[in-house]
Point group: C2
Chain length 419, copies 2
């Protein structure tokens, strides 16, 4: 039994994690939210209290300031707050420092996105091997539970792969993870999470095809798919975190990720990208100031957390899996749909943050109960999926399974360069 | 007789002014090019020498560093270089300081664009009244020749209005200034002059309709016109400097300005504008740095002077003028076409810089000869146009006149607000 949760970060995902942890604080104990800007943490606490989500009012919900790149400060914070579970939902640049602080203090580590270095984009695959997995041995030696990528994608979609392997298939040929947001925020243009991290995803497309890494151009391969509930949407082959662990841990020939984009989004993205405004490389302006264009873009785009109140429509994220069971061909679509307005009604958030935040809170509960307190570093597909999926069913993210769904059959995808 | 020219600025227009002044330095005397960055001045000098354009090699062509917002430095520079003619082709923010230094030293002042303050955009009309015209009385008292807006538009198009009034019409009903660049620079996106100043033009559209100022939305009124040489191009009602003096000095009912834009340009412009990246108002990025988005955009876009070598195609700028002569209706199109590649061949520049720079050099010659040394502040339409037009005919910018051209008949343009 572990208890007391330290949430690092105060963005949209942290907001949802805080709500869901508070709603389960009889299991999780005290909750501290820490970030660079304490007032952002306090705004989350106000939302939790406004919604009357603090289940056990004898437990604490409070905020702290922290520089999450400063390992000694993090260690002090973990010790001082007596946190046994750390949920890192800050910017992707802080994973390694927070992980280090957990290893040093014995706390459980979790995150929802892969580590990145500010000046490097779309490094060579598998990405986890460049950073997190280098701490695998130390976690093993010191009995540290570290659960990597426990949001929705990566996260739930990884658990679905494990579930498919365990309960639905004898052999898996292809897994296509399809992620579409069929909602509308009503703004000219906005990203649903940190624009800086969002756009960094779209620099290169790494995909796992026939058990090899294949490199493709962004937004170059499009498929239309008739999704349950939200209907037909265009999706584009995209690089994504989860491929970088699933390719190692799941016995499948090809694992691809597809993200939905509308024409307007792609036009805006294309203009910004072609002009160089998505670049993380600093430019020097006439006045001598040096700054990365993407940081300025982030400053002018709507704050993702500001989108929640007016958001309408639904997201649909699912795994289309093709393989065999009992020597017969089998295809399933295992998915979740999530409604933006219902999320706002429940926790004052939109569905993108909701789907990323709820799984981390569910994992914290499983760790607190001991079910997932595995004492080493894992990606989600390495854990027993069933208790997680069952718990999510009760926490707002139910899993649906369709047998013999509308077929999803992408063209042959070739590599732009040998890798 | 005035002599010795000080060119302030080292951009694309300064480059052309320097070439054309050097080609006429038997009349103009010594030429000094001064800007913030001396190496940009020196690059221009190298181009002039490479093209063997220094007509009289006993005259000097040299560079200096100057902060053109620092009036005492400017005064020292004018005195030290014994310049009697100052051609200001730097950023629009420096007009008032350079003008002040000219008034203090007795030098002739010229510019090619209206004064702007960095933090103000598209102020109330007429724009000249907000800045330059406030120095009219001092120029008059001290016998200072100040020629405002002596590029192409403003500049040549103003002289054509004067020419029309003097030689072609008894009464003028409408003047439509049409400016189209039918050339191609081969880049994804670029502006032909300083992007910061370029985009500031497109915030509001002030137009002079039935002797009143009318405010319209940018790119909201489109007309297609079959131009001489370059053929049919779309043009959009746009605000522009020259309307702010022509409305006062030319007896016409309506004076409109139209600029050509292709669909790709408008799409990119629209994305950048809607997102807020054209804003001159500083934003604060997460790291605490404050910067105006447009300055970052400028840093990532191609340097306008880099476009010249590969530029193909032509510009066409003309005045469609409708009125009466000897009691009969008359319509003329008075215009110039300019070829990008020919400009590069001659002075290593593109046609946008060429058309803006040649008129300033021509005006300097007219001032040096005494023809235009009028000892007060004028806009171009207040000067005798004939010697100017005739001189341009010999300097690479010939004027053509078509009687009864293809009709240009815009719709009724109403104001978005009372002004």
């Amino acid at each position: 039994m572990k208890k007391n949760v330290l949430i690092i970060g105060a963005g949209g995902v942290a907001h949802v994690v805080a709500h869901k942890c508070a709603m389960n604080n009889d299991v999780l104990g005290d909750i501290c939210i820490a970030s660079r800007t304490q007032q952002k943490c306090d705004a989350i606490i106000e939302s939790v209290l406004r919604k009357n989500h603090l289940k056990d009012s004898t437990k604490k919900l409070y905020s702290r300031t922290v520089n999450a790149l400063d390992i000694p400060s993090l260690i002090d914070l973990i010790k001082d707050t007596q946190s046994e579970i750390v949920i890192n939902v800050g910017q992707s640049y802080i994973n390694m420092s927070v992980l280090e602080a957990c290893i040093e203090t014995g706390a459980v580590y979790m995150d929802t996105a892969i580590h990145e270095e500010p000046d490097k984009v779309c490094e060579n695959p598998p990405w986890y091997a460049n950073y997190e997995w280098k701490r695998k041995e130390r976690c093993e030696q010191q009995g540290i539970t570290a659960i990597l990528g426990i949001g929705f994608d990566p996260g739930v979609v990884n658990a679905w792969c494990a579930l498919a392997q365990k309960e639905y298939f004898d052999t898996i040929d292809t897994i296509d993870i399809l992620d579409v947001n069929a909602g509308s925020h009503g703004k000219y243009f906005a990203t649903n999470f940190d624009p800086e991290i969002n756009f960094r995803e779209f620099k290169k497309v790494w995909t796992w095809i026939d058990r090899q890494w294949v490199l493709q151009k962004v937004h170059s391969i499009r498929m239309d798919y008739d999704f349950p509930v939200v209907g037909t949407c265009p999706v584009y082959l995209t690089g994504h975190d989860e491929l970088h662990s699933l390719s190692k841990n799941i016995d499948a020939n090809s694992i691809r990720f597809w993200m939905g984009f509308g024409d307007h989004y792609l036009n805006v993205f294309s203009v910004l990208n072609n002009i160089g405004l998505l670049s993380e490389k600093p430019v020097k302006v006439a006045e001598g100031i040096e700054i990365a264009p993407i940081k300025v873009l982030k400053a002018v785009l709507p704050d993702p957390s500001s989108l929640a109140p007016g958001y309408t429509g639904k997201t649909c994220i699912g795994n289309f899996i093709r393989g065999t069971k009992d020597k017969a061909k089998r295809e399933i679509f295992i998915y979740n749909t999530c409604d933006h307005a219902e999320c706002y009604q429940e926790v004052e958030s939109q569905a993108i943050s909701y789907t990323a935040g709820v799984p981390a809170a569910a994992a914290a509960i499983l760790v607190a109960r001991g079910t997932w307190d595995v004492k080493h570093m894992v990606n989600v597909e390495e854990l027993d999926p069933r208790p997680f999926i069952d718990l999510l069913d009760t926490m707002g993210l139910p899993t649906e399974v369709v047998e013999s769904p509308v077929p999803f059959t992408p063209p042959v995808i070739t590599s732009l360069e040998s890798v």
